[in-house]
C-alpha cells in the first residue's frame, strides 16, 4: 500500500492533531490536580502517533511545543524531543510493535532512549545542562561526583525519563485499546488495535 504524506494527513488525522495536543495539556493538568509524582505531558502525542502514524505524530509533538512556547519560549528548544517521540512511536505502531508484549517493552525502551538522548542534547547545548526543574539537583550530584556534564545530564534523563515514558505510554496504550473498532477502521493506522477478529477494511 502506498503511504505518502497525503495518505497520512487525512482530514480525520488533521482533526486529531489538536485533540492530541489538548490531551497533552489536559493530561498534564490532571496529573497536577491529582498530585502525581510523574511528568505526564506526552499522552496525546503517543496516542495520536499510534493511530495516525509517524508524520502526524511528529506534527502533534511539534504543535504541542509551539503552543507551549508561545508562553514559555524554552519549550521551542525541546520541540525536537516531542517530535521524535511522536515520530518514533508512529513507526513502532506502523511496524505493529505495539500489538505484543515484547514489542511494547522494546518499543518503550527505544522511546525512552530517543527522548532521553535528544533532550540531553538540547539541555546541554542550549541550556548549559540545566532545565530549571528539580531533577537538576540529580545532574549536579553526578557532576560533583566527577562525571562529565554530558554523561550526567544523560544519566539524569534516563533515570527520570524511564518512569515518565512508561507512565505516558501505559496510559496512552490503555486508552487506545478502548477506542471503538468503529472509529479505528476509519484511521489509516487503526487496524492493529481492532479487537474484532478477522476484521478487514472494505471500501
Amino acid at each position: 500500500m502506498k503511504r505518502g504524506l497525503k495518505y497520512d494527513f487525512s482530514l480525520m488525522a488533521l482533526v486529531l492533531i489538536p485533540v492530541g495536543v489538548s490531551i497533552n495539556v489536559v493530561g498534564y493538568q490532571m496529573s497536577q490536580i491529582l498530585k502525581l509524582p510523574v511528568f505526564i505531558d506526552q499522552i496525546g502525542t503517543i496516542l495520536v502517533s499510534m493511530i495516525t502514524g509517524p508524520w502526524v505524530g511528529m506534527v502533534t509533538g511539534l504543535l504541542g511545543n509551539v503552543v507551549n512556547g508561545m508562553i514559555y519560549p524554552t519549550a521551542f528548544g525541546y520541540a525536537i524531543v516531542s517530535m521524535l517521540v511522536g515520530f518514533v512511536s508512529g513507526f513502532l505502531s506502523r511496524w505493529r510493535w505495539y500489538s505484543n508484549v515484547v514489542g511494547v517493552v522494546i518499543g518503550c525502551a527505544l522511546l525512552n532512549v530517543v527522548s532521553s538522548v535528544s533532550a540531553a542534547v538540547v539541555t546541554v547545548f542550549m541550556f548549559g545542562g540545566v532545565t530549571g526543574a528539580g531533577t537538576d539537583l540529580l545532574t549536579a550530584a553526578f557532576v560533583a561526583s566527577g562525571q562529565a556534564l554530558w554523561d550526567s545530564v544523560l544519566t539524569t534523563n534516563v533515570i527520570s525519563g524511564t518512569v515518565n515514558t512508561i507512565v505516558n505510554f501505559a496510559i496512552a496504550w490503555i486508552i487506545v485499546r478502548r477506542i471503538p473498532d468503529r472509529f479505528l477502521v476509519k484511521l489509516n493506522y487503526g487496524l492493529p488495535y481492532i479487537k474484532k477478529k478477522g476484521a478487514k477494511i472494505n471500501g
Binding site: 494527513f9 482530514l11 480525520m12 488533521l14 482533526v15 486529531l16 492533531i17 489538536p18 485533540v19 495536543v21 489538548s22 490531551i23 495539556v25 489536559v26 493530561g27 493538568q29 490532571m30 496529573s31 490536580i33 491529582l34 498530585k35 502525581l36 509524582p37 499522552i43 496516542l47 506534527v59 504543535l63 509551539v66 503552543v67 512556547g69 508561545m70 508562553i71 514559555y72 519560549p73 524554552t74 521551542f76 542550549m126 541550556f127 548549559g128 545542562g129 540545566v130 532545565t131 530549571g132 537538576d136 545532574t139 549536579a140 557532576v143 560533583a144 561526583s145 566527577g146 556534564l149 496510559i171 490503555i174 486508552i175 478502548r178 477506542i179 471503538p180 472509529f183 476509519k186
Partner: protein
C-alpha cells in the same frame, strides 16, 4: 493587544524578533544581549503586557539562568577552578561560559515572549495565510489554540461526573493513580468520537473545497509597518556586512 505595538502587522514584529535573535547569536560578549531584557521590558510596558512578560520570564527563564550559573561556575570541573568547599569551587572560565549562554537565552527569550504576547494568534494565522501558507496548517494552529481551553473545562465536568459515581480523587497515592484513567479516558474517547462529527462539520463548510480561499478578517500594513520592515532589512544587511568584514 490593542496597543500600537499590538496593532503592528505580525510580519513586522516577526522580522524585528528575527533580527534580535540573529544579532544576539552572532554578537560576541554579553552586554548587548543583556540590554535586550530591559529593552523588551520597556516595549512590553508600552504594549501593556508587562505582567505576562515578567510572569513568563520568572517562571521559566530566570530559574534556568540561575541554575546555569550555579552549575557552570561552581560545580562543573574546569581547569582554572579554585576550591571553595567540598565539591564546590569557583571557575572564571565557567563564569564566561555562563555569561555568554545566559545572555543569549535572555535576549532570544525576551524577543520571542514579546512577539507572542503582543501578537494575536489570529493575526499570525492571517499573516501566514496571506503569505501563502496552506489552510491546513493555519487550521491546526487556530483549532489547537481554541480547543485547549475547551478540553480543559470539559475535563472538569468529567471529573465531576466520575466523582458522582464514587471515584475518589483525593487520598493516598494509589487512590489518586487509580483516578487518572477514569478522568482522562472519557475525555479521549468522547473527543475522538467527536472528531468524526467534526470532520463532517468541516466538510459541510466546504473545508476541502479546491481553489482560492478568502478571509473576512483582514489586517492591513500601515506606513509604520513598511518603515519598520525596511529598517529591519537594512539593519540586518548592515549587520551581516559588519560581521563578515
Amino acid at each position: 493587544m490593542d496597543s500600537r505595538i499590538g496593532k503592528l502587522y505580525p510580519t513586522t514584529k516577526f522580522m524585528i524578533t528575527l533580527l534580535v535573535v540573529i544579532i544576539s547569536i552572532f554578537t560576541p560578549g554579553y552586554v548587548l544581549q543583556y540590554i535586550m531584557f530591559p529593552a523588551f521590558l520597556i516595549i512590553s510596558l508600552m504594549a501593556g503586557t508587562t505582567k505576562q512578560f515578567l510572569n513568563a520570564f520568572f517562571k521559566s527563564i530566570f530559574i534556568i539562568i540561575l541554575f546555569i550559573f550555579a552549575m557552570q561556575v561552581f560545580i562543573i570541573t574546569n581547569e582554572d577552578q579554585t576550591p571553595i568547599w567540598g565539591f564546590i569551587h569557583f571557575s572564571q572560565a565557567g563564569l564566561a561560559t555562563s555569561l555568554s549562554m545566559t545572555s543569549k537565552i535572555t535576549a532570544i527569550a525576551s524577543a520571542i515572549m514579546t512577539f507572542f504576547e503582543t501578537t494575536k494568534v489570529k493575526d499570525i494565522t492571517y499573516a501566514l495565510e496571506y503569505a501563502g501558507t496552506p489552510r491546513k496548517v493555519t487550521f491546526l494552529i487556530s483549532s489547537t489554540i481554541q480547543l485547549i481551553p475547551q478540553m480543559s473545562s470539559l475535563s472538569k465536568t468529567i471529573t465531576d461526573a466520575q466523582k458522582s459515581r464514587g471515584i475518589e480523587t483525593e487520598g493516598g497515592l494509589m487512590t489518586r493513580i487509580k483516578a487518572f484513567v477514569p478522568m482522562l479516558g472519557p475525555l479521549v474517547l468522547s473527543s475522538i468520537q467527536q472528531t468524526e462529527e467534526r470532520v463532517l462539520a468541516l466538510e459541510s463548510r466546504a473545508f476541502s473545497a479546491k481553489g482560492k480561499k478568502t478571509s473576512i478578517y483582514v489586517l492591513h500594513k500601515t506606513g509604520l509597518d513598511i518603515v519598520l520592515e525596511v529598517l529591519s532589512v537594512i539593519l540586518l544587511m548592515g549587520y551581516v556586512v559588519w560581521r563578515v568584514m
